[in-house]
């Protein structure tokens, strides 16, 4: 564990040093917001990817895969596919339009100050939903790696991220993000490859792909429970709980006390509610008939991630750092390539975890499989080194995504909320505001993360994607490609889509707690397949019922006219 602490400290230190190095470039407000739009496509692509790969990608996919099975990998497909949608419909026109933030786009395209306020609210909601689970992941990982209490990780990551965002702005952070992308990719790929070589492929195949359930290894298994756990035993077995010999019938539900629980060799692992009892071949099936493996849920998830990525404010603001439209396209293709490389590897951890770390099923801690697997699979120094690597990668994930979100929050508040309507503030004042908000902006989400210890990371990240897909996605697609869109229509779509998404997810969380299932539950957990079409429908219907907007051709010119025609000056012809 000492190794892991050193590795995490090294990544944190490198982050601060690179951030401080970037500070030297952050001299103007334009630097602080968008790095002067002069970062090369590969740097920018690595920075976008670094910002994007969060706790959900680094820990969540493998954890969910281990828990529910191969259907979890659709999440990785959707996370990458989101950049294809961004490339096809948004990247170049949005960059040409030349706004700093999403609210800038909303107001610039549709000439409505109230639409801008609505966009500000949506930006803050999406960023908040996304920031809380990152901090929660940091808290859990700190506990796993160092045995620290839950709040410690939140405090440490919160302070480090606030500091370098406040000092470096986006210029410093761009280099930090690019660095952290490579940290994350190496620390997920290398341990996975080394472990597969060490183990000679995937061991325990009947459990992973065959007809066996996860069971205790030949030496038996001892699991330390930190709190009482309600589990169901798939088959009848003897077990030992807190020193007392017990017996469970097949299918019996037992409340295990906290403390040590021991199972004899070959006993099937009891599973907490929410983890389906599956044989290997059931686990490895990419589409099943129920829950998170049902086709309805998978299509809804693919839609949310495919369309939601373009609506993530912290990602989009980074596209403004491209010098022009073709550079934005180039960057996006490279992001696709970089992410594709990363997303090949989480699957390995889920499969190896099922084969070798069945104890995680009992404690319900499958989300930590990336952190705990190396030491379990390879006892000794080798495994400890690999575990230190994945721990460092996980911290890079929390820090990079949180810093991107904090920049978005600080940029939005200092640019759109604070002091707006008064006479234009000087550079110095605006820079100071950005820094104050960056220093304070972490407080709210950190408090929420402290309260959200029992809410699933993937649920909160799913909220952010569903919300983005139901609000900003239709605004962009219609705003860029449909000249008939009106401000009223856009506002109606954002309100209807956003309300529907949030309402469904809240209802889903409440109903899920009472153990309902089926298609309705799939839709409430991931409502995008309903809320996105409804948002589009509302935007189009209300637009057609309001007056045709005037002077759209200047905006269409700014969005779609290629560079190099001497038209750049006209980009500012926005109302």
């Amino acid at each position: 564990m000492t190794l892991a602490i050193i590795a995490v400290a090294a990544v944190t230190l490198a982050t601060v040093v690179i951030g401080a190095w970037g500070v030297r470039f952050a001299r103007t407000t334009s630097d602080l917001y968008v790095a002067s739009r002069a970062i090369s496509p590969w740097w920018n692509a690595a920075a976008v990817s670094g910002e994007y790969l969060s706790a959900a990608s680094f820990l969540g996919i493998a954890g969910l895969e281990m828990q529910i099975g191969v259907p979890a990998l659709w999440q990785a497909v959707g996370f990458a596919a989101g950049y294809l949608a961004l490339l096809l419909f948004v990247a170049a026109p949005l960059r040409r339009f030349g706004s700093y933030t999403l609210p800038d786009f909303a107001e610039g395209r549709l000439a409505s100050a109230s639409l801008r306020r609505l966009a500000v609210a949506a930006v803050l909601a999406i960023d908040g939903f996304y920031l809380v689970p990152q901090l929660k992941g940091a808290g859990i990982a700190f506990g796993e790696v160092m045995g620290a209490p839950y709040w410690a990780g939140i405090v440490v990551v919160g302070i480090v991220v606030s500091l370098y965002v406040a000092l470096g702005g986006m210029r410093g952070v761009s280099y930090v993000q690019a660095f952290q992308f490579w940290v994350k990719t190496v620390t997920i790929a290398l341990p996975a490859i080394v472990l597969l070589i060490y183990l000679g492929g995937i061991p325990n195949r009947p459990t992973v792909f065959g007809d066996e359930q996860p069971h205790a290894p030949p030496a038996g298994i001892v699991v330390e429970l930190h709190q009482p756990e309600l589990v169901r035993f798939p088959t009848a077995t003897r077990f030992d709980a807190g020193g007392r010999a017990e017996y469970a019938h097949a299918g019996e539900e037992v409340e295990l006390p906290s403390g040590r629980v021991a199972l004899p060799a070959g006993a099937d692992i009891p599973l907490p509610s929410g983890t389906p009892a599956q044989t290997g071949s059931e686990w490895a099936r990419p589409v099943t008939s129920r829950g998170e493996g049902s086709p309805l849920y998978i299509y809804s998830l693919l839609l949310a991630t495919f369309l939601g990525t373009m609506g993530l404010p912290h990602i989009l603001v980074r596209f403004y750092t491209n010098p022009d439209g073709p550079a934005a396209r180039r960057t996006t293709v490279r992001v696709l390539a970089l992410l594709s490389m990363f997303y090949l590897f989480p699957a390995v951890y889920g499969a190896l975890g099922r084969a070798l770390a069945p104890g995680l099923y009992m404690t319900g801690q499958t989300d930590t499989v990336v952190l705990t697997l190396p030491a379990i699979a390879w006892p000794g120094t080798g495994g400890n080194v690999l575990a230190a690597m994945t721990a460092a990668g996980a911290f890079a994930a929390f820090m990079s995504t949180s810093s991107g979100l904090l920049i978005s929050i600080a940029g939005t508040i200092s640019h759109d909320v604070w002091g707006r309507g008064l006479r234009p503030a000087s550079m110095t004042v605006r820079r100071r505001r950005f820094r104050i908000v960056a220093a304070l902006g972490m407080l709210g989400p950190a408090l929420l993360a402290l309260a959200a210890q029992n809410i699933d990371i993937s649920i909160m990240v799913g909220w952010a994607f569903a919300l983005a897909a139901s609000t900003f996605c239709p605004l962009f697609l219609l705003g860029i490609w449909w000249s008939r869109l009106t401000a009223q229509g856009a506002a109606a779509g954002i309100i209807v889509g956003g309300m529907l998404a949030i309402g469904a997810i809240l209802a889903g969380a409440l109903i899920d707690a009472q153990g309902a299932g089926g298609a309705v539950n799939a839709l409430l957990t991931q409502p995008a397949i309903v809320s996105v079409p409804v948002a589009f429908g509302a935007m189009i219907t209300v637009s057609l019922r309001t007056a045709r907007p005037k002077d759209v051709s200047a905006q269409m010119l700014a969005l779609h006219a290629p560079e190099g025609l001497g038209l750049e000056a006209l980009e500012r012809v926005r109302a």
Binding site: V70, L73, A284, P286, P562, L565
Partner: protein, 110 residues
């Protein structure tokens, strides 16, 4: 650039800027062509990814073929979608830039 073509470019630019029917028509054509290209890319993506879940739901036999000991269906989710995305993205980038270039040529020839 010769003085003649420079002045021609200026004229075309002014045309666009002044929203004359001519310039707006060109831009509308470009926008439509770009949108068609994007929708084509979407179709290619949808064909690959959208059909996979359906394929798995309809052809359970995919679970029984297992190259390298991993069922084919699991392989199909875990890996091949990603290179397909990159290829679609790279082809799209080239075509979109080419459309922009032909628009530029059109304006300069005017």
């Amino acid at each position: 650039m010769t003085p003649a073509s420079a002045s021609a470019r200026r004229t075309a630019r002014d045309e666009l800027a002044e929203d004359t029917a001519h310039g707006e028509l060109y831009l509308t054509q470009l926008r439509r062509a770009q949108l068609e290209l994007s929708l084509l890319g979407l179709l290619a993506f949808g064909g690959v990814v959208g059909s996979l879940p359906l394929l798995f739901a309809l052809v359970p036999a995919l679970a029984h073929v297992a190259p390298l000991g991993v069922p084919l269906a699991a392989w199909l989710v875990a890996a091949p979608a990603f290179p397909v995305f990159v290829v679609i993205g790279a082809v799209y980038e080239r075509r979109a830039n080419a459309l922009d270039q032909s628009f530029r040529d059109l304006i300069r020839e005017e």
